[in-house]
Symmetry: D2
Subunit: 344 residues, 4 copies
């Protein structure tokens, strides 16, 4: 009944079990435990190349650390106006980078375009101006769409033309991945992503994300930044165990497929009832739709939770599905909407 965010869900039972299983005996602290140590190999398999993996407990930490590692204090980070780093992290990237500047750009479907970035880059090499340092995309986007690999590649080329890096905020990376039909490698470094905030919390972990570097040069720097930010957990085994089970037996992909399918079911149901399509294509696990004020009100009265999303029309709403969203909950919401519309 709670469609406010995928972070209102708890952790997948397997994650809790893995934590309990890791809770035996002593283990070296600060990432020297066996669970954390195994992550490098596991991520390398998933991404089909050696990577540097730094687990952290929040996506904001992952984003801020990832960006700070590549952005000097006088750098500019180009992102979509709706990006989490722009609107929902209280300036974490600004803080971690020592005062770099976010350049928020508009773009259709919640996506950044190379043209928008190129247009925003001004006075390159001019000491009076902040200098291009990073492009940051959200994958999936903040409005539930998914960048195609060719779109990523074009942004990667723009990044390289200006000696920037391409960062992906993958708070919903798994949702994007299963939606795309691509491999993790294809959706990231093969398309030009240099550094990924690999989200797992929203998709079934308790509190576990990771910075993934596809190059090997900045790993040392990142490690100091993480510790200095207070993001190196002493009992790191519990982060390691979460991520390990998340990546085992395709749990992450199954969870994401479930959430995406739930979004499709919900979108189809609402479209059927309301006679209008969502404001954006539903490619991951978020739906943005103009419910109409009466329906929105009726749903709230019936106990359904979701965020208002003004600007997409009357009764605009954001509805997010998760790894544990049940068909029953969806059907109940659609039924309530049907009733509100005077249907059966």
């Amino acid at each position: 009944m709670d469609f406010r965010s995928d972070n209102v869900s708890g952790a997948h039972p397997a994650v809790i079990e893995a934590i309990a299983a890791a809770n035996h005996g002593a283990a070296a602290g600060y990432g020297h435990d066996e669970w954390t140590q195994r992550l490098g190999q596991r991520f390398a398999e998933i991404f089909e190349r050696p990577v540097t993996v730094m687990p952290v407990a929040t996506g904001t930490a992952a984003n801020a650390l990832a960006l700070a590692t590549f952005t000097p204090p006088w750098g500019s980070i180009y992102c979509h106006a709706g990006a989490h780093i722009n609107v929902a992290e209280c300036g974490a990237p600004d803080f971690y980078s020592g005062g770099a500047r976010l350049c928020a750009l508009d773009g259709a479907q919640g996506k950044l375009s190379p043209a928008a970035v190129e247009n925003a880059i001004q006075r390159e090499g001019d000491v009076h101006a902040n200098q291009p340092a990073a492009i940051s995309i959200s994958q999936a986007t903040e409005i539930g769409t998914v960048y195609r690999t060719d779109e990523i590649a074009a942004l990667g080329e723009a990044a390289r033309r200006h000696r920037m890096v391409l960062h992906a905020d993958g708070a919903r990376f798994a949702n994007a991945l299963v939606s795309s039909g691509k491999s993790a490698a294809e959706l990231t470094w093969k398309a030009g992503v240099d550094v990924l905030s690999f989200g797992a919390t929203k998709n079934g972990c308790m509190g576990a994300d990771a910075v993934v570097l596809f190059g090997d040069e900045r790993g040392g720097e990142l490690a100091y930044r993480r510790k200095r930010g207070g993001h190196l957990l002493s009992k790191s085994r519990f982060l390691g165990a979460q991520l390990e089970v998340y990546l085992a037996n395709e749990l992450w992909l199954r969870n994401a497929r479930h959430a995406n399918a739930a979004a499709q079911r919900l979108a189809a149901g609402l479209e059927r009832v309301l006679g209008i399509a969502p404001a954006e294509r539903v490619e991951a696990n978020e739906i943005f739709i103009a419910l109409g004020a009466p329906v929105a009100m009726a749903l709230r009265s019936a106990g359904f939770l979701f965020y208002d999303w003004p600007g997409i029309g009357d009764g605009g709403a954001r509805l997010v599905t998760s790894w544990d969203t049940s068909d029953e909950a969806i059907d109940a919401l659609v039924a309530a909407a049907t009733r509100a519309r005077g249907g059966a």
Copy 2:
């Protein structure tokens, strides 16, 4: 067999159970869940006054946030040379405060003295010099001693004379508390502590500490700093649940009593075998003792893990006990030391 640190221990089973119990249904994110919401009242009971509580996942985060909240970028933080904030946080307080300066001072028993602080304060009000902002003590200290309430009060008075705050890094606060025979209130705000890093991770949690403010003026600022530092967890219920169970049924006190008693047992055993006392009084759960090189080597060969602590004598070692240290492990270590000394 692992005496390197109390953070090599896992979480108390009750903590895992509480996490599992909290893992049902949806819960509002970012601290708006019921578990986190209940913490204010619980901490108020423990400290016998209203407090502001901000849970975080690491002690380094708690320290850095606590200090940054009271220290302007041009401030000085006076601490013992051995303080965790000085030697083991990669400059986290410097980072979070915007470049404040740590003034590391010597002091017997691992303790800061008002005289040492007063002596270090120079050029107050002089624009060319960093200005006094905070005194930070570790309670228990980094060498296993515990500040008495009169010692804290004297530091609190020194702090107020120079318009500073008194911060306590309570990574091992419970160990200090049960050792002191005082109440939590007596050991903190009644003695002059303004802000406490309340440690729970080392004493049986999985990853849960908290900043506790005894005044109410800076709570808002602290909340922004926490979010901006990436330390506001989305699925905060799991932090809340850890801290709640930790404080229920005296689990925290029982764990600390266990660890302290284990330290006493170990210290007594080693003193008996070695014929020398620990280098410092064992008042919490850490023992610093000159094992002699042969004993140190023999213990390592037998599989016991601990840190070398040069400077307190030949074979100097730090041994830390925990909430789950067994009598068997202690006795095995003492027996191994006995054998190494040629005893039975």
Copy 3:
């Protein structure tokens, strides 16, 4: 012949004389000299109230220090998209504030409107979002217009509604002042300005600006920030002497009147020749006008220097006059434009 900026001009001869006159004997360092000491009284007379004055050598320093004094690291600073702090200081306010965020807004005539600011303020009190801290206006604006006192007052009210301060970047404050016909008090604190970057460099000094605080609470903090930023000059007498002579005998007002009159003469001449008006009202000492490409090219060939200003039309140009712009230079430029247009 150089209309690129008012900073291509040297210092007024009286400024050099004052520097030479101050160069006798010893004087206490770091602002304790008599010249600097006299500034407080002098500024108080000019602004008709006690003020805190902190001289610095650059306008960027004045702006960054002024804003950092009132903006927490998680604060937002609302400014016009064309503001110097936004486009020409390489992120100095971001740096000095510890990573606060600039919110660049559009606005007619180069001016910020209360509506634009109100519209941009979102999620006040929400820990996930940067929080309103300051509104910053350029007076005169970056395109040569001047805020009226009622416009300032409306922004001041908006600032106070959200517990923000109103900052004015007065790099060309004198030009605005003489244009406005108001007193210095009326144009600043009486209209709601809390802190002013008082520019003198562009209007006849060698390198001297000042932060002026109209309240008295943050003076101490500002002093530490200035020193810490490396902006407290040891031989401060030379800053003091510049500002003192600048403010004596209305030198600053005479210089600004000269520059503004030169801009009027130039604007009138060009309008006569080109048959079009400047893109913006010429209220201070800057002219933005679409010269047409042939005229622009001809002027450059004739040795006239100015910046291209694309976006206001074909051959768009920015022309800046100064305290030492001669009628001869203006008339020569207009004559060259006339020739380029095929006139006599």
Copy 4:
């Protein structure tokens, strides 16, 4: 009569003349003027190699920028406890570096020794500890001694062993240079100095110092840092003109020789009168001597200004000579001391 500091002196008349001479016509701003542009070549001649020169208005700015360019936020800067960066800049290096840490070390003669640095470096490569980044020496030292080239070389080797840079705070570089009998190259990069704060303000300029990089890799970064710090002067010609005349016709060397000779004359006079030698060898333009309280008091009564310097004995005083200290002033001080001692 003012021996408090060499910064109580004004500027050499030739410097004022150069400023006045530069004050004709228009000149490009922000360092693109001819005076600033000529500095690269001039410094290259003096240092016998290509260098990057960045003029700034204060020594604190030069130090902070120089150090920040080479020190990551998690770096450690090793300096003498008495270093200006440690005690007299209100944390400017901490600010500019993003929170790096100064490690203040003791050392005889005001000098840092490689052994002291090596001893202070701990836990290299350990993510929990700040990491070695820079050694910073004051040349001349803060107590008027001068590092010999072999001493510098030994520190340079220590720096390189730990991948640090060697920085020299040359606020009194000219005084050290003429004292050493070495060339500017020998005293800097040939001995292992990587970056120099080239001081000119104290030795006869009005307000002009420079960062000098002996390698060429960080020049770009430094330029952004300077602008961002508010230290790029718009009318930079006046900085350029100061430094140009300072380096022409050996003005800098003549001034320094004068100041050093004055210190020798003063030291000899006081030693003769008091019967004791200065506390430290007088190798540059500073004298630290225990005057005895009666003499100190008598000198103050007679109008002589100097700083108390407790810790070197009764009536401990610091006396600084300058480019404009007259023999008459010195002889008057010695005569007053003689009278105070009951002499003629």
